[in-house]
């Protein structure tokens, strides 16, 4: 029997009263700041460290695949987006799927890193971090996954090192056509904004300037986000997720000036990557020379690194016979948060990596 109109009204009223009480409680918690999100909480060990950079090894799961995954994070934001909250964490997901997961976190660079160039990351830090992964696991090859600008570093490493011990190169929202990066690089592209204008006296681009670059892409979107929060304030789950994302989206790190000068000159103004090769560290790096399977994964609604900036990876990086492409729904953070991430994006990625890895006869403790 269907409920009467009066019953429906009553149940709706009860629900609204309950939600209003919950909204009040959560609102007070938010304003008082007494319910901070637990970001980056997955169990891990630091297995290598150099300068501000650290290599983390996550544990807790049974390892079923021989090739560990090393995730190289971007240089402009904090890596905890990939380990946002317990139950909503990319690394936790991959650990749960039977992978031995490592993450190369660049930390919070400061003036000591001002002279870090692209070569520092591509030829110094990353090869050593990979050596550390191999030492830790005893494996010959790894799956290297680069997120955003971390993907660019991973690409340059894979293409520029003949001896790179890579089984797979996975590029996640990795820009290659910097001319398509839109508002974020528009001022730099035509020289209206010079890199020296944004580098401070310590030789770094301050974190607030990096944040400003992202904020300027959609300055009013915060209004919509807060209004949506107000409506969903009754849901603890939503509030937790919102807080974690709000914290991450404001939490940027300073960017080394030397690397910024190179990126602006080589990648943004000359758009060298689109030519398929770039001169770095005294040699010509040809992107097609990456000797492993390459997966170019990107989100069609990404407004930070638009699809048009990412798509050419599929025809420029790696051996043409070993190139793969994965188009996903959602936006830039589809690899890390949201229903889409855990229902579709991450399972699809995991399946691809598993299909391109060796399964261990006997699983081992992670």
């Amino acid at each position: 029997m269907s409920p009467t109109s009066r019953d429906r009204q009553r149940s709706r009223l009860d629900r609204e009263v309950e939600r209003t009480l919950l909204r009040t409680r959560n609102g007070i918690r938010l304003v008082a700041g007494s319910s901070g999100p637990r970001v980056g909480a997955s169990p891990k060990d630091v297995v290598w460290q150099r300068g501000r950079a650290e290599l983390w090894r996550y544990h807790g799961g049974e390892v079923r695949y021989a090739q560990p995954i090393l995730i190289v994070f971007s240089l402009v934001s904090r890596s905890y987006i990939l380990d946002l909250r317990p139950g909503h964490s990319t690394v936790e997901f991959f650990v749960g799927q039977g992978f031995d997961v490592f993450l190369l976190d660049w930390g919070v660079p400061d003036e000591r890193d001002a002279e870090n160039s692209l070569e520092t990351y591509v030829d110094t830090y990353l090869p050593r971090a990979i050596d550390a992964v191999r030492r830790e696991t005893g494996c010959d090859e790894i799956t290297l996954a680069g997120y955003c600008l971390g993907g660019t570093i991973a690409t340059l490493y894979a293409s520029g090192h003949d001896d790179a011990p890579l089984r797979n190169l996975v590029l996640l929202a990795c820009p290659i056509d910097f001319g398509e990066m839109g508002a974020m690089v528009a001022g730099l592209l035509d020289g209206r904004v010079e890199v020296e204008d944004v580098i401070d006296e310590t030789g770094m681009i301050p974190a607030k300037t990096v944040y400003g670059g992202f904020f300027m892409q959609a300055p009013t979107v915060e209004v919509a986000r807060h209004a949506t929060l107000l409506d969903r304030l009754w849901s603890d789950e939503y509030v937790d997720g919102w807080q974690a994302m709000a914290q991450w989206s404001r939490d940027h790190v300073p960017f080394p000036g030397t690397a910024a000068r190179q990126i602006i000159d080589l990648f943004i103004r000359q758009n060298m990557l689109m030519s398929g090769s770039v001169r770095l560290g005294g040699r010509e790096i040809r992107l097609a020379e990456a000797r492993c399977d390459v997966l170019n994964a990107f989100a069609v609604k990404d407004n930070v690194v638009p699809m048009s900036a990412v798509e050419p990876n599929s025809r420029l990086v790696g051996d043409p016979d070993r190139r793969h492409e994965l188009r996903l729904g959602g936006g830039h953070v589809t690899f890390s948060t949201g229903r889409q991430a855990f229902q579709h994006t991450l399972p699809t990625l995991s399946d691809w990596i598993a299909a391109h890895s060796d399964e261990l006869e006997t699983p081992k403790e992670g």
């Binding site: 150099r50 300068g51 003036e111 000591r112 001002a114 002279e115 110094t124 050593r128 050596d131 839109g182 508002a183 528009a186 001022g187 035509d190 209206r192 904004v193 010079e194 204008d197 944004v198 006296e201 310590t202 300027m216 892409q217 959609a218 300055p219 009013t220 979107v221 209004v223 919509a224 209004a227 949506t228 107000l230 409506d231």
Partner: protein, 122 residues
Amino acid sequence: MAATNDRPAWLDAVLKLERAIGSRVESVVTSDEFFDFTAHANRARKRFSETFEGLQEECLHLFNVPAGTDVRRLREQLSRVERELEALTLSLADQAHETGDKPKAKPRPRPRPQTTSADADE
């Protein structure tokens, strides 16, 4: 009154308004004029801050007190030293790696304490 998708009408209105205003704001902040303005504003701020710091430095030095710029120079020097240390650490680690992480050589025996002339005679 509830709107579609269980979203209240007020929220729909706010989201529509945000987009209506937001798209205009976005086109302003990506315009050439805005970039020119930002660049000029940045340069002006830098010039002002340099001038102000210079004045401040002179005043503080009159009383033999270090200024912020002195501290910054000191930090820059420290950073350089740390970078050099890091480079040395890396090259040492590389050397150790190339030699196959061989165990460390046994410490050399300490030189014998100098013998007295009487001992020497013995």
